[in-house]
Symmetry: D2
Subunit: 226 residues, 4 copies
């Protein structure tokens, strides 16, 4: 049976965490040749080694706990940590992939970011700043690369099950369930496969006209792009 | 071979125009039982007949030429016409489908609207108003129905080939090509199948966590929800 | 003492309701010559009489209770009523003012709409549709008229005291106070003068570069434009 | 004559560049006691010295040329430079001001950022990332601090005259004028006083209900918040 990604080469970053496992599994099941890289900070030399050659599809999946704090108590180390885990590696990954993809005349970058900056979350302003930098970078990059046939888009998710932000034990807590009922119109957390299927749509050959877009996937917690 | 919509019943409105043919064809190819209705204004009795029984998936596809004019020259008839073609039938369709879908605990409504109101187009303020009413109605409805397992989303497209707004002969005009190069980052008009594939994603069982969302599909002409 | 609107002629519609009284009072205190019109539906002949001559500043203030209902129970009369009270009169007012303002090379239209469609409110989908039509119409019109020196903007408010939506007795109810604490970051309803001061900013000569904008004013309930 | 900021203490950062001079001049003319600080990077010790005591109003004005480059040619130094000039100092300034303002139960932070990330600009993805981080940080912070009576908002401007991005000699170039006519509905660059007046509105006692908001001021180039 034909898979939707037959013959496509894919690199998934941080493939052992956040949305990495679900996306890598689905893409492999759809016929892609998936490289599951388990790096985290993606220094320049790691990026160059990983993206040689640049694959057809790059899944830029990066995660770091939100390090919640009131704004007046943000620790310098936490702030830097979020930018080093989320923002700078994303730039290095996209920068390295963009050139060869432009030359080739095609290529897909699907990033998994967050819906947090689209609505704003008190006590998570550092996290919102870092995720907001990612989203803005991807929008600009997507608009820039569109004319070369290279597509960049992001999944801005919230309330999706994953080890970093919504681990299994949190989902069973009474307090979390009450929170969910109060603020998420869908009243539930989605399974991680949900993100994988949106990533599959974005990575498929059938999607060419969506570029530079930050797609919220959040059960209605937010439906706007900012 | 298993289709992605096997066993699903689907009603496509205005199935002979705008994005109707592409969506109906793809959904049928994916195993759905598709009713291709060729109505336009969807008076209450038409709606009741069409949605008896309410299908698993309703594709609310409505179109009307934009009736371009400077705001000081909007004709009353044109204004009314746009609301009667785009806004009021959408309400009647969603209103009729919502109750049975709520009772059943599932159901999908995918509307094809427009990206025009998300960015705003001079000399198309009447059209933007009508499409803006659609988008706002669908966002509110989607948030309302999410807790019942009923999903409402919209494809807010622009620069996609279709008989109503981007017919074949327009796409060949030199003036149009220059316009495209100037304002669309992707520098091209997408084929109608592109919309059908996004509709398929939204209508599939793999998509449950996106609700009340207005998804731009416009080659980067706009990437924001308003 | 010099007022900020000295010598400006202003028409305020529905001046006895919604944000009309607060805006008319402040604009008069700032030296404007204010015509307080107490119409509601603004049929074409009323509009022509009212806007002869077209003033320097038109405050398009229109209101109608939200007529809350689940989407499957929207009454046809309520739906029509919202469009007749909010959408069609706004078009007639802006249409009549735009021509003379274009000819003159200046003019200000400040509309008071709602933040409801920017975020979406369950059981208020009809209201969201009508207010969404207003906002989309004003965005398109604002972009169209900018090059003529004519400015159109809207205040998209929520949680501001006024007779139509947040009357005094509602604000004292225990249930409403709990709602406010749960969903509005500012934890309070603003006084109606707040809207008047934003309208004054938009109407002043010091504001020329903001056009076609839907400005949320909602205590943080929403901070996005859709 | 009474000024609109009589008796208010104000700190303006980078007061000799970007929107600093225009804002400092207007705020002083409106009766504020203005401290014009001419720092740039705002290291922690500079911030502590500058904000002791924390003023009633902090104008967080930071600028750095956009360092334009295709995404595949971003220089590490340029990237870091933008974050060190725009993102990290903003965090340090807001962090230091937030605590005392919370304790006091009032305080205003008005930041001057950019509209660039709201729409996205090819060849300016690094700049968009840094300005996007600012905007997201300010939205989250504004929502967090609202309940303490502390207001945080941002002016997301574009096409406003200033020494850093739109210096006088650029505005006279034929090529720039053609660009302006093509992409800005208002067809012109605004004077720097325009930003100062929006800042004055946001900093005034009459504005309390707008929090965490990123207000576009861009002649219609963008009217959306993302």
């Amino acid at each position: 049976m034909a898979g939707r990604l037959d013959g496509q080469t894919v690199v998934v970053t941080s493939a052992d965490r956040y949305m990495g496992p679900a996306i890598a599994d689905l893409f492999a099941a759809e016929g892609a040749q998936v490289t599951r890289d388990t790096g985290k900070r993606y220094a320049q030399d790691e990026v160059e080694a990983l993206l040689d050659p640049v694959p057809d599809i790059l899944v830029a999946n990066l995660a770091e706990p939100p390090l919640a704090a009131p704004v007046d108590e943000i620790a310098d180390g936490d702030w830097q940590n979020l930018f080093e885990a989320l923002v700078h590696p994303l730039m290095r990954l996209v920068r390295a992939a963009a050139g060869p993809m432009k030359t080739r005349g095609h290529g897909k970058i699907v990033a998994v970011t967050s819906a947090a900056p689209l609505r704003g979350i008190p006590h998570a302003s550092a996290y919102c700043a870092a995720r907001g930098a990612q989203n803005a970078f991807l929008r600009a990059t997507g608009l820039e690369l569109a004319k070369y046939g290279v597509q960049v888009n992001a999944i801005a998710q919230n309330y999706v099950r994953n080890d970093t932000y919504y681990p299994d034990d949190m989902l069973e807590q009474e307090r979390f369930r009450a929170h969910l009922a109060a603020v998420v119109p869908g009243k539930r957390v989605a399974e991680s496969q949900e993100t994988a299927h949106l990533a599959l749509y974005l990575a498929s050959k059938e999607c060419t006209h969506m570029v530079g877009q930050i797609v919220p996937l959040a059960g209605g917690w937010t439906t706007t792009t900012g």
